[in-house]
């Protein structure tokens, strides 16, 4: 479904990605882990068109998307929940969610139904729906951001820092929900620092280190890899 080949990107003169290769299959939940500053966020920004890559290719469902505008990439079916939430702070929660559905053309009814689904997923958002998103608590903002990403009805949802700032119970619920959505046909690419949670959620995992994907494989294999355990799982 998604094939990234030899992708190079950076900020100004500073290269950050040094030839990333990555492949996500249809119906997969893939996770991307790696140390601080490895370039995970940069990769996702390049993928969603926020950061034009210097070279390389991004093919999604057969279409080349490297260097395209974010608008076209979203139109192709990739939604990105960015690091730091990036909510529209002086807009209500509800309007934020509706912004997620900006490009959808399947009518107010379908959008309304999805809105209800989001409120079902995160009940607190229903309570806060008229409140300005900027005044939400940190975790509420994260929920709002994920829900907003889902509102675009993507085929591939890319989430940066999935569990950041969420209460443990909420992380569990969210993972359950993502699994359900995955069964309904949504493909997921998730960046997650809590490697244990990530490996539990995902079927495939990629490990990034200083701008390259250094390891990849099924979650099962990686979980049992002592090097990975030492580098990312730490002492329990």
């Amino acid at each position: 479904m998604l094939l990234i080949r030899n992708l190079h990107a950076g900020y100004g003169d500073v290269p950050v990605l040094w030839g990333v290769d990555l492949k996500v299959e249809h119906g997969d939940i893939a996770c991307l882990v790696g140390s601080n500053g490895a370039g995970k966020t940069t990769l996702l920004r390049a993928l969603s068109g926020l950061l034009p890559p210097n070279s390389g290719s991004i093919v999604f469902e057969g279409r080349e998307l490297a260097g395209a505008e974010p608008e076209r990439i979203l139109g192709a079916g990739i939604a990105h929940v960015p690091e730091g939430r990036r909510l529209f702070s002086a807009m209500s929660v509800r309007d934020n969610l509706l912004m997620g559905a900006y490009l959808r053309r399947d009518g107010a009814h379908a959008i309304g139904r999805d809105l209800e689904r989001m409120y079902g997923l995160f009940p607190i958002l229903r309570e806060r729906q008229a409140q300005d998103a900027g005044t939400l608590s940190g975790g509420e903002q994260q929920m709002c951001a994920v829900a907003r990403g889902l509102m675009s009805a993507p085929r591939l949802l890319v989430i940066d820092e999935l569990s950041l700032g969420l209460a443990p119970a909420v992380v569990d619920q969210l993972c359950d929900a993502l699994r359900r959505l995955n069964q309904e046909g949504l493909t997921l690419l998730v960046v997650e620092q809590d490697v244990a949670t990530a490996l539990e959620l995902a079927q495939h995992a990629f490990v990034m280190d200083t701008g390259r994907v250094t390891r990849s494989g099924s979650s099962e294999t990686l979980r049992n890899d002592p090097a990975i355990r030492e580098a990312y799982l730490g002492a329990i």
């Binding site: 969603s48 068109g49 926020l50 505008e69 974010p70 608008e71 979203l74 139109g75 939604a79 990105h80 960015p82 990036r86 909510l87 529209f88 702070s89 002086a90 807009m91 309007d95 509706l98 912004m99 997620g100 900006y102 490009l103 300005d132 900027g134 907003r148 675009s152």
Partner: protein
């Protein structure tokens, strides 16, 4: 009795102020661009109405139909070609940019139209509406009503429509809006186009009331500033409330403190309002 007359004067004047300011407020609030050119666009709208009337005999109310799309298109193109190059620039830079453009516009108009004052005289005159001893000139009344209607439409467009939401989203976070699939450049151009349209249309309306010359734009610009800060930046209803508040304060100020102090008084009011409510009457946080 005088009080009622003054109140009527103030309301009508306020409606015109609201019209002058709404497009300015939109562009400022959404694009974070203080559009110094706004006053000159109003004047251009005035010239359009004047020449349409003088050369072709078209009534200013009809010229609006031409002015609206024309100014929208001009604004759209201007933003796309020039101002969009400065899309993320700090506000003072875009201010300098529109300041430069305004100098060019004023100079251009001076060359094209000379500095003479033109006046659009409608024959037969529309007359006045007399409510007992209170008289209201019909041209002003119509202009005001039309202005308020347009401002209201603009408000509906922004608050109810998908594009309106996109406009606000772009203001809040450009990058996140892009992630939602919003074409930021297009939204900027649309917003600027709407602002120019409001300016051009208010110009055609004002042409029935005020003499037109290339330099009157500065006065309109000054009013737009005050109205839009008074009402709250980026808020179209704010521009309406601010405009009417200003109109009424100026009118009663002129009565109680003499006309030469009316403007000063409204400025003091502005400062006091801001001290009590730092985001203007209807403004919200996040638009500073």
């Amino acid at each position: 009795m005088l009080t009622f007359q003054i109140l009527a004067n103030g309301l009508v004047l306020g409606g015109l102020y609201a019209c002058i300011a709404s497009g300015f407020s939109l562009v400022w609030g959404v694009l974070n661009v203080i559009n110094i050119l706004h006053g000159s666009i109003i004047v251009l709208g005035g010239y359009l109405a004047f020449f349409a009337h003088a050369k072709l005999g078209i009534h200013p109310f009809l010229s609006i139909l031409v002015a609206a799309p024309l100014f929208y298109a001009a604004g759209y193109v201007l933003q796309r070609t020039l101002i969009n190059r400065m899309i993320a620039a700090p506000v003072l830079l875009t201010l300098s940019l529109t300041f430069g453009l305004d100098l060019m516009a004023q100079n251009g108009m001076l060359l094209a139209f000379t500095a003479d004052f033109r006046t659009l005289i409608i024959e037969p005159p529309l007359g006045v509406l007399a409510l007992g001893p209170v008289v209201i000139p019909i041209d002003r009344l119509l202009a005001m009503l039309l202005a308020l209607a347009l401002t209201g439409l603009l408000y509906l467009l922004l608050s109810r429509s998908r594009i309106g939401r996109a406009v606000v989203a772009v203001r809040m976070d450009r990058e996140a809006a892009a992630l939602m699939g919003v074409s930021v450049k297009r939204i900027y151009a649309v917003t600027f186009g709407l602002g120019a349209m409001m300016a051009g249309v208010s110009g055609t309306l004002l042409a029935m009331i005020y003499p037109i010359s290339p330099l009157t734009g500065t006065v309109y610009l000054g009013k737009a500033f005050v109205v839009c800060v008074l009402g709250g930046l980026g808020s179209v209803p704010g521009a309406m409330v601010g405009g009417i508040a200003l109109g009424i304060v100026e009118s009663f100020g002129a009565l109680w403190f003499g006309p030469e102090n009316a403007a000063t008084l409204s400025f003091l009011l502005l400062i006091v309002v801001l001290l009590v409510k730092p985001t203007g009457l209807l403004g919200r946080k996040g638009y500073e």
